[in-house]
């Protein structure tokens, strides 16, 4: 597994940890998760810049940004924390990592 994918994997585990504790909000895990996702995002940005025409790479980056937005929405909610959205984001991330692993293989 590539280092960036490892970050994605750790982010996934942290989302699972956050979801397991809901409705209590685990701020420390959410902050860690944001950090891991940012490292993953930075790797995808580099990949996208290296291959600007790669639409899949751009799509992956777009998806990670969306996942990060939902993690932040739970970490810093405007109203109630959007747990259902976080569940969906968790599944997007799992799918993204799975596809990345398949591509790498």
């Amino acid at each position: 597994m590539s280092p960036d994918a490892e970050c994605g994997g750790r982010a996934l585990a942290l989302i699972d940890q956050v979801l397991a504790k809901r409705p209590d909000k685990d701020d420390v895990a959410l902050a860690d998760c944001a950090r891991e996702l940012c490292v993953y995002r930075d790797a995808l940005i580099l990949a996208q810049r290296a291959a600007p025409a790669d639409k899949d790479a751009r799509l992956r980056l777009s998806h990670v940004n969306s996942i990060l937005a939902v993690v932040l929405a739970v970490h810093f909610p405007i109203d109630a924390a959007p747990w259902d959205e976080l569940e969906k984001a968790r599944d997007w991330l799992a799918q993204l990592l799975s596809e990345a692993a398949t591509t790498a293989a």
Partner: protein, 836 residues
């Protein structure tokens, strides 16, 4: 702040500064107005010359106190106990202005049977979710959610707002006020008596506040409490009456009108929120547009804004460009943003007109965040602590980081000063005033408008060929402002003309926001400013014609006050329900039967030809302003009435209730709920809070400005002639505490919290007094927050001691009431701040 908006309809000062001279009583609370708003304070002095009383309610004895008839000292953060005590006093003694409040507020409205007040539930209102720390507002609604709301004009119904209010503040007795605030009962009663004696048909009282109220973990509710009092006393919309929201510096009002806030669009339109169901324009408008009241016009303002921003790219087929707008998902205010910088979420930041290393709380967390950025752009006319953080920041000075370890690429760009650029400022009275260019700025200094315009041009060029949906917003943005001079300075008046608005087909300037349409035929960058540039070549912000001494006193020919050049908001309330002035002495707006319109000394803040005896025909389900009677002055509210009780719009309770500050040396004497249950706290390393009654941090700590130091200090610290007026930082300590700690004036002291430690010299002064709180002595210390390490005058950054917290409604931090320790002596040599 949303408190004024939720209570009266608009989030702004309700009166002109000069109208303070017409007050019979001025209450300054949460402000040291004489020192920090000295120009506006002359109207208070004039009011005193005419016989008005001045009351200053403040923890310190300041120059404002020195000029006041009464100084009421209170412990920092206990404001709601004091204001609640005033509400209790006027209700219990039947001193409220019944004819006004009964007709113009929702006192008679009946609330849901499911509502449970915080007084009956240990400090928590019904609907509280203890895990999410949020409220469901369902039980706060009007009974049966009837439209119009059910009422009991006799005010006897157990669940009418009046009875709820009466019960809610029943325990806020003068004795309890003294126990909690430390203000002697006799002083409190004197304040209450003066306010009551100076309110009613013949007399009015104004309340002035500043960030001494907003910078609390429940600042919105402090302002709400004052709003309730003013509504009960009939002091809104009348000469010399109102709430004067003194803004922190010159164009703070303008920066919320045309906002730098993350959650608002210009003209107080909500930023769309993806998680609130605002995915489409249709959804957004359906959810945000009330069926009754002036805000039923919301679609006109939203579509006109989109047309101003996106021009021909905004069409009916693409929701007028609604999808170009970013949608919120999270709280993106300053505190979460600071923390997100440290987490790597935010990659770059522009700092314009701000110095967060000094002005933001928990300076070291701010530094950690800045150190994680890839790039930072600081624009100012002198180097600030923020621009210098990577070289001389607190963490660098303490050896916790080195410049080599900080990867942030910092760009410092010189900015021009006011005389070096043209443009407008919107002052504390909603008054938009123009200033002209006088001379060019030296060297490469440029205006902020120049910077933003040319940055926009470059971004548009960068994304011009993109076929990505997300880049369409930049491509679609209208950016066609004419420029002049060798530096291609954009014409500021062209921006103002767009803000004012025009008809799309012929670009004819609009003279009133009532001309705005939701069909794409009009464009306006900020609907509340429409009318400021009503025709070609006519910029009313430049108008400089004051009234003659025998004129109406509204000075309608001097600049432009939004909305519609009205100087006193809600001025329909200056007349009784029948349209007659409450008194000749306090007349402002009245109904002229012969002309069938409202007339008077100001621009009427009402539908000009709506008769006072108009009543909606509810059998026909009236819409918009048709649902507001001719005797309901607060037309921005869906019911046309001031909201004593807020069923919606305030997140932490429909009535202000007393909580201790987020850090406090005492327990909440009212109920088990110590601090606001919905306050935003951030559990991250370096941001720990002190528990209640923590013996390690026994003193209340508060911060404030100095007359001689402007904003974050740099503008005056770099000028020798102003720097020498305040040569070094200091902490103010009472003689009693100084004696107990063995400290004399000019001795070094160390102030500490769990966030940080600083050293600063002592100023032992009777301006600071110990308080007797809940039976024990509580000391308070205060320090100006305007010092740093840049400039001729340097000193410890007070805000390094503070924690990142947030008001439930605004996420604004608290700087006015935390706790600390004080000891005599100095920090170790390697922990001291060195100036540069």
């Amino acid at each position: 702040m949303p408190s004024l908006g939720a209570t009266f309809g608009r989030g702004a000062a309700t009166m002109a500064l000069w109208d303070l001279q017409n007050s019979d009583c001025v209450v300054v609370m949460g402000s040291n107005m004489a020192e920090n708003h000295p120009i506006g304070f002359r109207f208070v002095v004039e009011a005193q010359r005419r016989g008005a009383k001045l009351i200053h309610i403040d923890p310190r004895f300041t120059r404002t106190s020195a000029l006041a008839d009464v100084h009421a000292p209170i412990r920092s953060g206990s404001d709601i106990a004091f204001l609640g005590g005033l509400i209790h006093y006027v209700i219990e003694n039947d001193l409220w202005f019944r004819d006004y409040a009964l007709n113009y507020t929702n006192l008679a409205h009946i609330i849901s049977d499911d509502y449970v007040d915080s007084e009956d539930n240990e400090g928590l209102f019904s609907g509280f979710d203890p895990v999410a720390k949020t409220y469901d507002h369902e039980s706060w609604q009007y009974k049966d959610q009837a439209v119009p709301p059910l009422t009991d004009p006799t005010l006897q119904h157990a669940n009418c707002v009046f009875q709820i209010l009466k019960r809610h503040y029943a325990r806020y007795t003068p004795e309890r006020v003294e126990e909690i605030t430390g203000c002697p009962k006799e002083t409190f009663l004197k304040v209450a008596e003066i306010i009551a004696a100076n309110s009613g048909r013949e007399r009015t009282t104004a309340i002035c506040y500043a960030v001494g109220w907003t910078h609390h973990s429940y600042g919105v509710q402090i302002i709400r409490a004052a709003s309730l009092l003013q509504a009960l006393m009939g002091n809104m919309g009348r000469p010399g009456g109102g709430i004067m929201a003194l803004r922190g510096h010159v164009s703070i009002q303008g920066s919320t009108d045309i906002p730098t806030l993350y959650n608002m669009l210009p003209g107080y339109l909500d930023q769309p929120n993806l998680l609130a169901g605002h995915a489409t324009l249709d959804d957004y408008l359906k959810l945000k547009t009330p069926p009754t009241g002036w805000w039923s016009n919301l679609p006109k303002y939203v579509v006109s804004l989109l047309k101003a921003w996106y021009g021909e790219a905004a069409t009916a087929d693409n929701e007028w460009g609604f999808q170009f707008l970013p949608k919120l998902a999270s709280d993106a205010s300053q505190e979460p943003m600071t923390l997100s910088m440290a987490n790597g979420v935010v990659k770059g930041q522009f700092i314009l007109g701000q110095n967060p290393l000094v002005g933001a709380v928990n300076s070291e967390l701010v530094e950690q965040g800045l150190a994680k950025l890839e790039w930072l752009v600081v624009r100012d006319f002198a180097m600030t602590e923020t621009g210098d953080f990577w070289r001389n920041g607190r963490r660098v000075q303490k050896g916790e980081a080195t410049p080599e370890q900080i990867g942030t690429e910092v760009f410092f760009l010189p900015a021009s000063m006011p005389g070096e650029k043209e443009g407008s400022v919107t002052n504390t009275s909603r008054l938009v005033q123009w200033h002209d260019w006088v001379c060019d700025a030296p060297g490469d200094s440029r205006s902020d408008l120049w910077f933003m315009y040319h940055l926009g041009l470059r971004l548009k060029a960068l994304y011009a060929d993109s076929d990505l949906t997300r880049d369409r917003a930049i491509q679609a943005l209208t950016w066609d402002y004419p420029t002049k001079g060798e530096h291609q300075e954009p014409e500021a008046e062209a921006v103002l003309k767009e803000i004012n608005g025009w008809t799309v087909t012929d670009r004819k300037q609009l003279s009133t926001f009532t001309a705005l349409k939701a069909d794409g035929s009009t464009a306006a960058g900020c609907w509340i400013y429409t009318g400021i540039y009503p025709e070609e070549g006519k910029n009313l912000a430049r108008a400089h014609v004051p009234d003659a001494p025998d004129g109406p006193g509204s000075h309608a020919g001097w600049a432009f006050a939004w909305p519609a050049n009205r100087r006193t908001l809600y001025n329909r309330a200056s007349a009784d329900p029948d349209g007659r002035p409450w008194s000749d002495r306090k007349k402002m707006i009245w109904w002229d039967e012969s002309q069938s319109k409202w007339t008077g000394l100001d621009v009427p803040d009402f539908v000009a030809d709506k008769r006072p005896d108009y009543r909606p025909d509810w059998s026909k389900s009236p819409h918009g302003m048709d649902a507001i009677s001719g005797a309901e002055p607060f037309m921005m509210e869906a019911t046309g009435r001031a909201m004593i009780f807020t069923p919606t719009g305030i997140k932490d309770g429909p009535l202000p209730t007393y909580y201790e500050p987020v850090e406090s040396p005492t327990r909440n004497a009212f109920h088990a709920q110590q601090a606001s249950p919905t306050v935003h706290t951030y559990d991250v390393p370096g941001n720990a809070l002190h528990p209640p009654e923590d013996p390690r941090f026994p003193y209340v700590f508060t911060t404030y400005r100095l007359t001689e130091m402007h904003c974050g200090g740099v503008p005056t610290r770099v000028m020798p002639h102003t720097a020498e007026l305040q040569p070094e930082a200091f902490v103010e300590i009472s003689p009693e505490l100084a004696e107990a700690l063995g400290i004399k004036t000019l001795d070094w002291t160390v102030l500490s919290t769990l966030r940080s430690e600083i050293e600063v010299k002592a100023l032992v002064t009777e301006r600071m007094r110990p308080f007797k709180i809940n039976g024990k002595t509580v000391h308070q210390v205060g320090m100006p927050w305007v010092f740093g390490w840049k400039g001729y005058t340097s000193g410890a950054v007070a805000n390094a001691l503070l924690a990142i917290t947030g008001d439930s409604n605004t996420s604004i931090h608290t700087t006015k009431a935390l706790t600390c320790n004080v000891r005599a002596g100095r920090l170790k040599a390697d922990q001291r701040q060195v100036s540069s």
